[in-house]
């Protein structure tokens, strides 16, 4: 096939540590943190750092310095003091990794990732093709879902991204189930042909990649295709291409998430209001002049800001927070290719 010739570059995965059950891995479930483990340092809601624990290293963050020495041997989930405050040490998960990873590109929101996995009908043993790799956020979620017997082929046109995610997979014990590929799938198709159970596309012109996706999917098993696009025009062209290449069950959906904060609900009667005004805000204690600054502060603390207050039992309510939220990320178009 022309494909093999045109293929730009494949980075072969090294599976040195994959057979060692004690090697660092996202799948390890020891009680205590060991050297070489990837740990998520949870500073506060929305602020996390991923580190590979190594003696002699120090993490500098919002709450000061944290020497890795003091992390080793601590139980997962521990609270630990840094020089200027305390943090928590958490096990890596694909959700926490996507919050903590070094962003090289815009990444998919957790709610989109979660639905993509469902729409791909992914499970251990699935063979999945992805493009583009980007920052590897979804790639991690896909790799963890297909492990230990499936495989993820993740494609990107940018070699540096591919190299980085390959190194991350190695560090996270995911090398055996992943193959990062430098390849423009719109032009040259996927690394495998007639082999996979699902294809995920996050590319500018998905319609160009759809014939290649059809080719990558196993003919005997059939498979699923999911395409993510921000603009409706991309969706229109993608749907047309899917119909043309024999996909069925074509459907386009979108998610608009809403996050809440739990706060005290302060209600007052008309008489109370007449007496003392609404200086007591409806639900929170911010408001008035400086509320923008206070809002920012609360936002930083995020959904957990409630913790700093005494929540009177049973008298709580949830308010939409923050006031400004994502209202669109992209449309997810999904379809089935039947076996032949």
């Amino acid at each position: 096939m022309a494909k093999a010739v045109e293929r730009l570059k494949t980075t072969e995965s090294v599976d040195s540590n994959a057979t060692d059950p004690n090697a660092p891995s996202f799948f390890k479930y020891e009680d205590r943190i060991e050297e070489g483990d990837t740990a998520i340092v949870y500073v506060c809601f929305g602020v996390t750092h991923a580190i590979v624990v190594k003696r002699g290293m120090t993490l500098a963050m919002k709450y000061g310095a944290l020497r890795h020495e003091f992390i080793i041997g601590k139980p997962w989930g521990s609270r630990i003091s840094a020089t200027a405050g305390y943090v928590y040490l958490l096990r890596p998960s694909s959700e926490l990794w996507s919050r903590s990873l070094p962003r090289r590109t815009q990444i998919l929101y957790t709610h989109d990732c979660a639905l993509i996995l469902q729409l791909l009908e992914i499970k251990p043993g699935s063979v999945i093709c992805e493009s583009g790799t980007g920052s590897g956020s979804l790639s991690h979620a896909l790799a963890m879902a297909v492990a230990p017997t499936g495989h993820l082929y993740t494609h990107d046109i940018d070699e540096s991204r591919t190299k980085t995610v390959e190194q991350e997979f190695k560090t996270h014990g995911l090398s055996e189930v992943t193959t990062p590929v430098v390849q423009d799938v719109c032009k040259y198709g996927f690394f495998v042909s007639n082999a996979c159970d699902g294809v995920f596309l996050d590319v500018p012109a998905p319609w160009e990649a759809i014939p290649h996706a059809a080719d990558a999917i196993s003919r005997s098993r059939g498979g699923r295709l999911v395409s993510f696009s921000p603009c409706i025009e991309q969706v229109q062209r993608a749907c047309e291409a899917m119909r043309k290449f024999g996909f069925v069950q074509i459907e386009t959906v979108e998610i608009v998430p809403r996050t809440y904060k739990v706060v005290q609900q302060n209600r007052q009667s008309l008489a109370e209001f007449n007496e003392s005004g609404d200086s007591l805000a409806a639900t929170t204690n911010f408001g008035g002049r400086d509320h923008r600054k206070r809002k920012a502060k609360i936002e930083e603390n995020g959904a957990e800001s409630g913790k700093s207050w005494t929540l009177a039992s049973g008298n709580c309510t949830a308010i939409t927070f923050p006031y400004n939220q994502p209202t669109h990320s992209g449309y997810l178009t999904h379809a089935t290719l039947l076996p032949v």
Partner: protein, 476 residues
């Protein structure tokens, strides 16, 4: 995955099937038994006619299923696509011209008006005429044609011919009419192995209340926030007919544990789980544990003389019947549908197996699971947290789903007091888009119910800061 796919490539009796009409809206999940008459969205066929055929696309002629090549769909699509390169008006004119050529019964008076009518949609231009009244083909004609094996597209053409009002319609109502008629008489269907996506869709559109309004996107969020993957140890309370249980067990892939908390002496009312027909290896991670054992704090023996819970008699009876209809029963075992007083050897063996699994499950709970999922419909999550949260390993994930916000707010308060971290309370809107040339818009109406999701991570209560302070000179 490969094994299960290649293992049984042909449809046989006893399997569960997911049936969906091409362009249909609902998925039907059912178990194929001999002499079954299947009826779904105006589609009717003999179940026997699919036995021995591969899963996939079928055409139904005279109530018999015949496999249909996907190429057929592609051909039609290419034809349609080549004509829709032109603006919609052209397509419409073609259709109209074809209709006018083929039939003499059309009154010609309003042709011009229609041909010149605007291309796109305006609600105010939509006439609400009653179709059936103007239809010249009678219902009997239609049935007769269908019996004779007329194909859907032929039939639709005839219907369009027979409809006097057709050419006085606006484009919107015309295309809607064609689509509606095609849908109604379409005799093409997909018959597939049930997957979580299909089962979830089937129950959500048919019976959202019984699965606590759990939609596929929120099911995905449960798995994502709980961090489910192979080799994970999960404890689960499931009031979603086994939907969440099935999703967790599938993601474990045969390695790890899914402790399923259930009422009564055996795990029942989990048709979604049964529909997945997991093989023995995958099912091995499914460990049902009785609530009564949890409440008692130890494993209880089976009380054969007195079931340790009462059935709400009539209500429960009719429920069992319904569940049978819904194929809740796992094929090849008597679980679920069997009487509760078992006497034979095999039954005793099964009971011992259940006790063994339950023991494993109870041990895991005591040792500390890595993830707790509560997918509740009526049960207060706090009453579950009180029993299970203290036993979780530190750093484990907690995910609570429910159709009501208030119980989750209470659970939020409870977790705050236990120093849980990374807490998020979310819901989401989920909307399907219609994507058609010049007619792209969100679906005009759809199921909108859903639930709320609370997620958290269990943290260890703070260590004595003294200990740390000794180590740091500049400690705060």
């Amino acid at each position: 995955m490969d094994e299960s796919h290649s293992r049984d490539s042909l449809i046989k009796y006893g399997v569960f099937l997911a049936l969906q009409k091409i362009d249909g809206e609902h998925v039907k999940v059912f178990r194929l038994t001999p002499k079954l008459k299947i009826s779904h969205e105006k589609l009717k066929f003999d179940g026997d006619s699919v036995v021995g055929k591969p899963y996939g696309l079928f055409e139904i002629v005279s109530e018999q299923c015949q496999p249909l090549a996907v190429e057929k769909l592609i051909e039609e699509e290419v034809e349609q696509a080549s004509s829709s390169v032109e603006p919609d008006a052209a397509v419409v004119k073609e259709v109209l011209a074809a209709v006018l050529k083929q039939t003499d019964s059309v009154e010609g008076s309003t042709d011009e008006q229609t041909a010149a009518s605007p291309v796109a949609i305006a609600p105010s231009a939509l006439r609400l005429a009653v179709d059936e009244a103007r239809q010249e083909l009678t219902q009997e004609n239609v049935l007769a044609l269908k019996k004779n094996g007329t194909t859907t597209s032929e039939l639709v053409a005839k219907l369009v011919e027979g409809n006097k009002a057709y050419n006085t319609r606006t484009v919107f109502s015309q295309s809607k009419y064609i689509k509606r008629k095609t849908q109604k008489h379409s005799d093409r269907a997909l018959i597939l192995r049930p997957t979580l996506r299909l089962i979830s869709s089937s129950y959500y559109t048919k019976d959202a209340d019984r699965i606590a309004n759990l939609r596929i996107d929120q099911l995905g969020m449960i798995l994502q926030m709980a961090g489910i993957h192979y080799n994970k140890n999960v404890v689960l309370f499931d009031q979603t007919l086994g939907l969440v249980t099935a999703a967790v067990v599938e993601r474990l892939g045969g390695k790890g544990k899914c402790v399923h908390i259930h009422r009564g002496s055996i795990a029942q009312s989990i048709p979604c789980f049964h529909s997945m027909s997991f093989d023995e290896k995958i099912s091995s991670t499914f460990l049902p544990v009785r609530i009564s054992c949890l409440l008692a704090g130890k494993q209880l023996p089976y009380d054969t003389n007195r079931p340790n819970y009462k059935e709400g008699p009539e209500e429960k009876k009719s429920k069992v019947e319904e569940d049978v209809e819904m194929n809740e029963v796992k094929p090849g075992t008597s679980e679920g549908g069997a009487p509760f007083y078992e006497v034979d050897e095999a039954a005793l063996k099964r009971r011992q197996d259940r006790l063994d699994s339950e023991k494993l499950g109870l041990e895991l709970i005591d040792r500390g699971a890595d993830s707790l999922i509560i997918a509740t419909r009526t049960v207060d999550p706090v009453s579950i947290l009180e029993i299970l949260y203290p036993k979780l390993r530190s750093g484990s994930t907690v995910v609570i789903y429910g159709p009501q916000l208030k119980p989750l707010i209470d659970a939020y308060e409870w977790l705050v007091k236990k120093n849980a971290i990374h807490m998020q309370l979310v819901d989401q809107m989920y909307r399907v888009q219609q994507v058609l040339p010049d007619r792209t818009h969100p679906m005009m109406s759809q199921h909108v119910v859903g639930g709320f999701l609370l997620s958290a991570i269990k943290a260890i209560p703070p260590p004595q800061t003294v200990e740390i302070a000794q180590k740091f000179e500049n400690a705060d």
